[in-house]
């Protein structure tokens, strides 16, 4: 695992403190914000982020802190009833940079704290443009939220506000509005410490302090959009999502990124069956709070107008059930001679789909298309198939993956292979060209988009993308993670596992995979690495299995 993706080790030593009179146990070294979280006491904060270095510059997290008093003899001073006497510090402390110590007394709801929060909010808003009607952050803006909870209802500021650059092009994917920036430096720390691309910094002084890229640099790395998530206000916005839709209309669906074998946990934001954006979802075992820009923006194909919404029989559109009825006997006849059938599965398919595919492909030659590019030493895996591990577990892929594609091509050329079943791959671009495809007597393709291969196919059954189905993926480290349907095209398309279930039934296999839970249970019973697992157990965070 890359070195900057280490999971925090459980701290052994605990200290006892009280927050607003509630007793709390926190690991030694934890700060007041983290300790408060354990007992449901919320300390407002802007610059603090649990995955970033502490900078303590926003002052939003001010709290009252005290501790057991010590006399001149360095002995604890006791109250008449024998309890230690508590001395409160004369000034407020910042919760993010104050570690909890034994016996510490923390107060977050006193008049002094409230006054401080109110004053800090007032300072933040002095030069703030209040662009909310045109600001993409509105609805998920910490300045808006804290303003309601901790701020004043009206401004006392009558002077002209300081104006700073607006609509600044920070990089290919990120837009900056300096007037909205509250100078929390989260973006700077992320780029410096996590993305290891120190490109941002503050210039000028006082009220004129401005966020900018260092001369000659751009916020251009493949992790630049994480700064947009981190930015508590609307200073940094995603150019792709900019002005597309208000966040309060968007439905959140848990998912995972299927752009590489890391399988970063994500949230898909959609409205009325259109995906508008993807953001990372925290999972310390996989991606912490981050994801790469390429994966984040890899959702356009879900909304594409060219998607297949109907089955195609020799290029003619047809209902799914009718196409299945025509295909059934032909496929059954073809499968009678397994040596003449080849299968190209997909490393982009779910475990459930690969399991059904492997049952269908038993006895025939089968392989998947490998996709390897450069990985980085952070999140991006060199293997761009999200479920290459699964394809290996189920034996759908050859060892090494892709080595049998030439065997299939040669088989078709020699006339040995007469039937080809393809899942979600454009084999036309993978060495099985149109001339070879034309030689086949039966080409069945399950895909969600038209390709050169679907054009040549006798039967095309319309599948769906990862954002429309249930299922699990196995990432490069053997972590099984779930996806949930976020959108639906509303056409004749089916979840791919349903298509393979129907194909198995049509070819005379016992129909034992009623729904996804039954299918998963069957898979868990028959495939060793998945033994004992169920969809509920995998849940939102995933489960580690051993892949050998």
């Amino acid at each position: 695992m890359p070195d900057n993706l280490t999971t925090p080790t459980p701290a052994a030593e605990m200290v006892n403190a009280t927050i607003n009179g509630i007793k709390v146990q926190a690991p030694k070294g934890a700060n007041i914000i983290e300790a408060g979280e354990r007992v449901g006491v919320f300390v407002p904060h802007y610059c603090y982020h649990k995955k970033l270095a502490i900078s303590g510059i926003c002052r939003m997290c001010l709290v009252e802190v005290g501790g057991p008093m010590r006399g001149p003899d360095d002995k604890p001073v006791l109250n008449p009833d024998g309890t230690p006497k508590i001395a409160m510090a004369p000034r407020l402390s910042i919760g993010c940079n104050t570690p909890v110590t034994e016996g510490m007394v923390i107060v977050t709801n006193s008049p002094a704290v409230k006054q401080a929060q109110n004053a800090v909010m007032e300072f933040f808003l002095i030069n703030h443009p209040l662009d909310c009607p045109i600001c993409d952050q509105a609805g998920e803006c910490k300045l808006q939220e804290y303003s309601v909870e901790f701020g004043k209802d009206a401004s006392r500021f009558r002077e002209e506000k300081v104006h700073k650059p607006k609509q600044v092009d920070l990089g290919p994917r990120v837009m900056l509005d300096d007037e909205r920036c509250i100078l929390c430096s989260r973006c700077i720390r992320f780029m410096r410490d996590v993305a290891k691309d120190d490109c941002l910094g503050f210039v000028n002084r006082g009220s004129h302090t401005t966020l900018a890229c260092w001369p000659g640099k751009k916020l251009a790395g493949n992790y630049s959009l994480n700064t947009v998530d981190l930015c508590p206000v609307g200073a940094l916005t995603d150019k792709d999502f900019r002005f597309k839709m208000r966040v309060w209309f968007l439905k959140e669906t848990k998912s995972i990124c299927t752009s590489c074998a890391t399988g970063c946990n994500t949230v898909i934001w959609s409205r009325e069956n259109v995906v508008y954006r993807q953001t990372p979802r925290e999972n310390d075992a996989v991606n912490q709070c981050w994801m790469c820009d390429a994966g984040r923006h890899n959702y356009k194909h879900i909304n594409a107008a060219s998607r297949l919404k109907k089955a195609l029989v020799s290029g003619k559109e047809m209902g799914y059930a009718d196409a299945l009825k025509q295909l059934g006997p032909k496929l059954k006849a073809a499968l009678a001679d397994r040596a003449s059938v080849a299968f190209v599965g997909s490393g982009r398919a779910t475990n459930e789909e690969l399991y059904l595919f492997s049952i269908l492909a038993k006895g025939g030659v089968s392989d998947c298309v490998p996709r390897t590019w450069d990985g980085d030493n952070f999140l991006v895996n060199a293997d761009r198939n999200p479920n290459g591990a699964g394809a290996k577990i189920f034996g759908v892929a050859a060892q090494p993956m892709g080595s049998k594609l030439t065997v299939i091509a040669d088989g078709i050329k020699a006339g040995r292979i007469k039937t080809l079943i393809v899942h979600q791959e454009d084999v036309n671009r993978r060495g099985i060209g149109a001339d070879l495809l034309a030689k086949l007597s039966l080409l069945v393709v399950v895909d969600f988009r038209p390709t050169e291969t679907t054009k040549a196919a006798h039967f095309v059954l319309p599948g769906v993308t990862y954002a429309e189905k249930r299922g699990t993926f196995t990432n490069a480290n053997g972590r099984v993670q779930r996806v949930w349907p976020a959108v639906s095209l509303g056409g004749e398309e089916r979840s791919d596992w349903e298509i393979f279930r129907d194909l198995l039934r049509e070819t005379g296999q016992p129909d034992r995979f009623g729904d996804i839970a039954a299918l998963f249970a069957d898979m868990a019973a028959n495939v060793k690495p998945f033994a004992g697992l169920s969809l509920e157990k995998i849940g939102g965070g995933g489960v580690q299995i051993s892949v050998t």
Binding site: P129, C132, P133, I134, E160, K166, F243, M245, W248, F249
Partner: protein, 166 residues
């Protein structure tokens, strides 16, 4: 409670005087100025401040005041409003306003004329001030698009020049 009924006086019992005075009032109206209109040939002139259907307004410079914040779309109880926001193109006159509606539709069949959109609008861009009658020959006719809403709304000068200073 018991209500005492007074017996009618002789004058009242005569009946005709009351009829005649009533008729006189009725006939006297024949010779006064007409107060009715021959609707729909004649359309009523609505006073300023008339609360009609929701429409979009422009400011005195002719700028579309709506910035497509979509708050009215959110607040509208029957979900009559549909907005597609867009960024002002690079060389647009009001580029500094950044955002504007590409499309803005109100389904006047759905609208219940509650006025929430006017109340919520942070830009004072939508007002219930439209014409007296809202009619159309089909459901589609009753979905008013941006152009139509702006035409019905016209110009409404606003003392607050929020975007001047940007």
């Amino acid at each position: 409670m018991k209500i005492e009924r007074k017996p009618l006086t002789l004058w009242e019992r005569l009946y005709l005087p009351a009829i005649i005075s009533g008729m006189m009032l009725t006939f006297s109206h024949l010779f006064r100025k007409k107060v009715t209109l021959r609707y729909p040939e004649e359309k009523p002139e609505m006073p300023p401040g008339y609360r009609g259907q929701p429409v979009l307004v422009k400011d005195d410079e002719g700028r579309v005041k709506c910035v497509a914040c979509q708050l009215c779309e959110f607040v509208c109880p029957p979900r009559a409003i549909r907005i597609k926001p867009m960024a002002y193109p690079e060389n647009a006159k009001y580029k500094k306003v950044e955002k504007t509606p590409e499309e803005f539709e109100i389904d006047m069949i759905r609208c219940i004329f509650c006025g929430y959109c006017e109340e919520v609008c942070p830009e004072r861009a939508i007002f219930l001030r439209g014409p007296y009658s809202v009619t159309g020959l089909s459901r589609k006719d009753m979905v008013f698009n941006k152009e139509k809403l702006l035409e019905l709304g016209g110009t409404l000068p606003d003392p607050i020049k929020k975007w001047r200073k940007k």
